[in-house]
Amino acid sequence: MEELKPLTISSSSVKKPTVLLTHDFRKFLLHSPLTPEMILTEKISSMLFSQFKIPRIPTGFFKLNNKSYYCEEQFESILLFDEWNSFAWDEKRKFNQFVRPKVLFELFLIDLFFPVFSTVTRKHIVLGKKCQIIGKHNLSPDKNAFIFSPNTISSIGLSNPVIKRFFEPIKNELFTILEEFLVLYHDKFTADLKFQISLYPELRNSYWDNLKKCFHDEFKNYCIFTIQNFIYTYK
């Protein structure tokens, strides 16, 4: 998360100014005031995305009068990945426009294996010559937002037939994607996460209590079996 030095801030006739323009002409939307919990959650979220090589919406923070605000980059044209927008992938011809469709499956795997964030990952489609999938966790300024709450297939949205339809063309590769995901999910990564959390003395106990439950073998096996059951429904 970088500190943003704005070139200028938007002017608006209907609401308070909320968008920054940086010196390299990127637009960032002001989200909410930054709290210490958000800094750590953001750190964990960005580590997850970089470890599993999933594209993430860039974020930053902006200081104004000694108050920090959490910002998120705005894209030129972006669609929410939702059943309302199912017209973007309901035929193979339309599906071929996606450049790395397995990213979507990996986003769902993160929802399943790391259910500690307040909501599931937000999934977006960036429109262009080839559509790219990009994701992000929603960070809430609540103090107790980081809680371990296991998800099921339906709570992450995979049971919806319209969303299942997306994986139809790559259904034979889903097992390989799961295996690659598990290969990257190794002990060194969990040690790195533990180390990052330990750098924040006030929060580390509550955060580590919740995060370590994700690393239990029992929970991992539960996730693996759930997702394998899901993949079998395609055959």
Binding site: K27, N85, F87, A88, R122, H124, L127, G128
Partner: protein, 254 residues
């Protein structure tokens, strides 16, 4: 289900308040309808990068196709909640993180049908919906249907010249061919470009020179283009051995 509409905005720039109302979504008992404003899409063409604009247009078209298909497939009684309902739109209008922003659905106090949809398009977007342009009738398609009529069953269809005359080099296609009555028929389309008409007429001339015993019929539709008319007259005078007929004459003759 009450009628409602919602305007689909495109957020062109996050820095200013600009929202471009690119489409209108209406819903009612008959089902959802959508209209994409072509004039505003033309404006977008200048504002976005070319690939992004094409992708946005493509996605809007997919959405429209899906809605039209959904509406036309709805023949049975609606037992479950309709997919494109006011409540769904209310949920979608809360999502402000994408570049497509849906306004909160607004009720309309009248039965939503095609006519009201058009009037709303005019009132809210200021555009008149163009009626679908009728595609012009193709001569070759109707000529092919004519050749496949039962009265021409004793003719061979699409025979090549090289199969009949062993010395011929160019495989000119004959639309109708009958060896017993020595009749060959070829249809000529005069609505295409001059170069293509000329090529077709040269083929007919080739048929005339290589099949001496046969009666060759050249069937055409009266051209409207003055250049095509001139060509027709020129070739009629030049190739007097060929029987030139319009389609109606030809059908009466056989």
């Amino acid at each position: 289900m009450e009628s409602f509409y919602s305007i689909i905005y495109f957020k062109t720039n996050a820095l200013n308040d600009e929202l471009l109302s690119v489409a209108l979504f209406t819903g009612g008992e008959q089902g959802p309808r959508m209209y994409v404003s072509s004039k505003r899409m033309n404006l977008l063409k200048f504002l976005l990068a070319p690939e992004v604009y094409l992708s946005v247009k493509r996605n809007l078209n997919y959405f429209q196709e899906k809605i039209d298909k959904y509406r036309q497939d709805q023949n049975e009684l609606l037992l479950f909640d309709p997919y494109y309902s006011k409540e769904e739109l209310e949920r979608i209008s809360q999502e402000t993180l994408g570049t497509f922003i849906y306004s909160l659905p607004v009720s309309v106090n009248e039965w939503m049908d095609e006519e009201l949809h058009e009037k709303l398009v005019f009132s809210l977007l200021g555009e008149k919906m163009n009626k679908q342009i009728k595609t012009s009738r193709s001569f070759m398609l109707s000529w092919r249907n004519t050749c496949n009529l039962s009265k021409f069953d004793h003719f061979e269809k699409n025979k090549l010249l090289t199969e009949v005359n062993k010395e011929a080099v160019i495989p000119v296609k004959m639309d109708l061919y009958n060896d017993d009555s020595k009749i060959v028929v070829k249809g000529i389309d005069f609505s295409v470009s001059e170069r293509l008409i000329y090529a077709k007429l040269q083929e007919v001339r080739l048929l005339a020179s290589s099949l001496n015993e046969f009666a060759i019929y050249a069937v055409y539709e009266n051209p409207e283009n003055p250049e095509a008319k001139d060509l027709l007259l020129h070739f009629k005078n030049k190739m007097k051995g060929i029987k030139w007929m319009e389609v109606e004459q030809f059908l009466k003759r056989f």
